[in-house]
């Protein structure tokens, strides 16, 4: 179970990384980055998981005999989600301007920094 849980994290990360490396479109690249980043969310939640644990919410619940999962990891993954949204927004804004300046979204055609307007 441990191997499967962490293998999913590695798989998500590698899939996102593969997409980023082979990407031919900046929008696609940003999406791949969020895929790779979601591996972090999953990893944080998996580290915080306790076998048969319930959520760290103690309202209106009958006394649950089991343990509670790690609330710090859940708070950290919340941070991760927010930062992921912020990073995606910034990268997409950069992509918009790149497309406007150079007319392309292909990273390979952005070798030169100067806009080539003929």
């Amino acid at each position: 179970m441990t191997v499967l849980a962490f293998a999913v994290v590695v798989w998500l990360f590698v899939v996102g990384l593969y997409g980023m490396v082979t990407s031919r479109n900046l929008i696609h690249l940003v999406v791949c980055l969020s895929v790779a980043q979601s591996a972090t969310d999953l990893l944080l939640l998996e580290i915080g998981y306790v076998g048969h644990g319930h959520a760290p919410v103690f309202v209106d619940l009958p006394k649950h005999p089991g343990p509670t999962v790690d609330s710090i990891m859940q708070a950290l993954s919340l941070t991760d989600v927010v930062l992921g949204a912020a990073v995606s927004a910034l990268l997409l804004a950069l992509s918009v301007q790149v497309h406007k300046r150079t007319g392309t979204l292909d990273p390979d055609e952005l070798r030169t920094v100067e806009p080539n307007r003929s």
Partner: protein
């Protein structure tokens, strides 16, 4: 740099990453193993010490509240960065395009979308406010509720046309709420200082666990965060929509 060199650089970096990832993952505790002492202590103390029945909110906004302060600043910086990146450039104009064919009506969104938006937008506002205000009791809080609140306006964009929604959209208010949210968090922190305790100390009356008023500063911080997140995310959407709807190349040589 040629493709071959780039591939080599990547392979070296990937090998380093693989080693680091392998070592890191091997050192992790088994999946489902008991939580750390820190986590147990936090879970045990969230209710008696902070009267907050949602331990995640207690961690985010109280025990590790200063982390969330920086997280807020990061979000604020990102929104400001997007606003700066997507401003009208020197060769662009940022005003609504004139209707060149007033005799031809713009097809309105379908009645089904309009109806759905009319129903959905108020529901989203209520759900967002519920999520924000109950963050200290049940799962939720300012970040989650703020995004739900922002999505209410996205539904309005969808159900009308953006050019129509743009006219009554309070752009200045959105920017102000983004800043007020980030600044408000600091003010709540300073209140702790004024009360003679540390920055961001939970010095407000704590209330009863499970009630709406509980957790001391946690619901206040949730509200502040919600103002920033809702304003920030609507502002983000506005900046991107402006790129297609409002900002365009200055062709006629008009003033920029």
């Amino acid at each position: 740099m040629t493709d071959r060199t780039r591939l080599r650089v990547f392979l070296v970096a990937a090998a380093g990453l693989a080693v680091a990832l392998g070592v890191g993952l091997a050192g992790l505790p088994r999946f489902g193993s008991p939580a750390s002492t820190y986590a147990d202590v936090i879970n045990a103390l969230a209710v008696p010490l902070r009267r907050s029945t949602d331990a995640v909110s207690a961690v985010t906004l109280d025990f590790r509240g200063i982390d969330t302060l920086f997280e807020e600043f990061i979000l604020f910086a990102a929104v400001a960065g997007v606003s700066i990146l997507l401003r009208p450039l020197s060769d662009e104009i940022g005003e609504m395009p004139e209707d060149q064919a007033p005799d031809r009506r713009v097809p309105p969104p379908s009645p089904a979308v309009g109806l759905l938006g009319t129903i959905l937008a108020p529901l989203l506002v209520v759900a967002g406010l519920e999520t924000v205000t109950h963050g200290q009791v049940s799962p939720g809080g300012g970040f989650q509720g703020g995004v739900v609140l922002a999505s209410a306006l996205f539904v309005v964009y969808l159900a009308t046309s953006y050019s129509r929604a743009e006219r009554f959209q309070p752009g200045g208010l959105l920017e102000a709420s983004d800043g007020a949210g980030a600044g408000g968090y600091v003010i709540v922190g300073v209140v702790g200082l004024l009360a003679g305790a540390a920055f961001l100390s939970n010095t407000v009356s704590l209330g009863q666990p499970g009630n709406l008023i509980s957790g001391g500063t946690i619901p206040i911080l949730n509200a502040v965060v919600a103002v920033e997140v809702a304003g920030g995310f609507v502002l983000l959407a506005k900046e991107f929509l402006d790129q297609t709807a409002v900002i365009r190349q200055d062709r006629g040589g008009r003033r920029s």
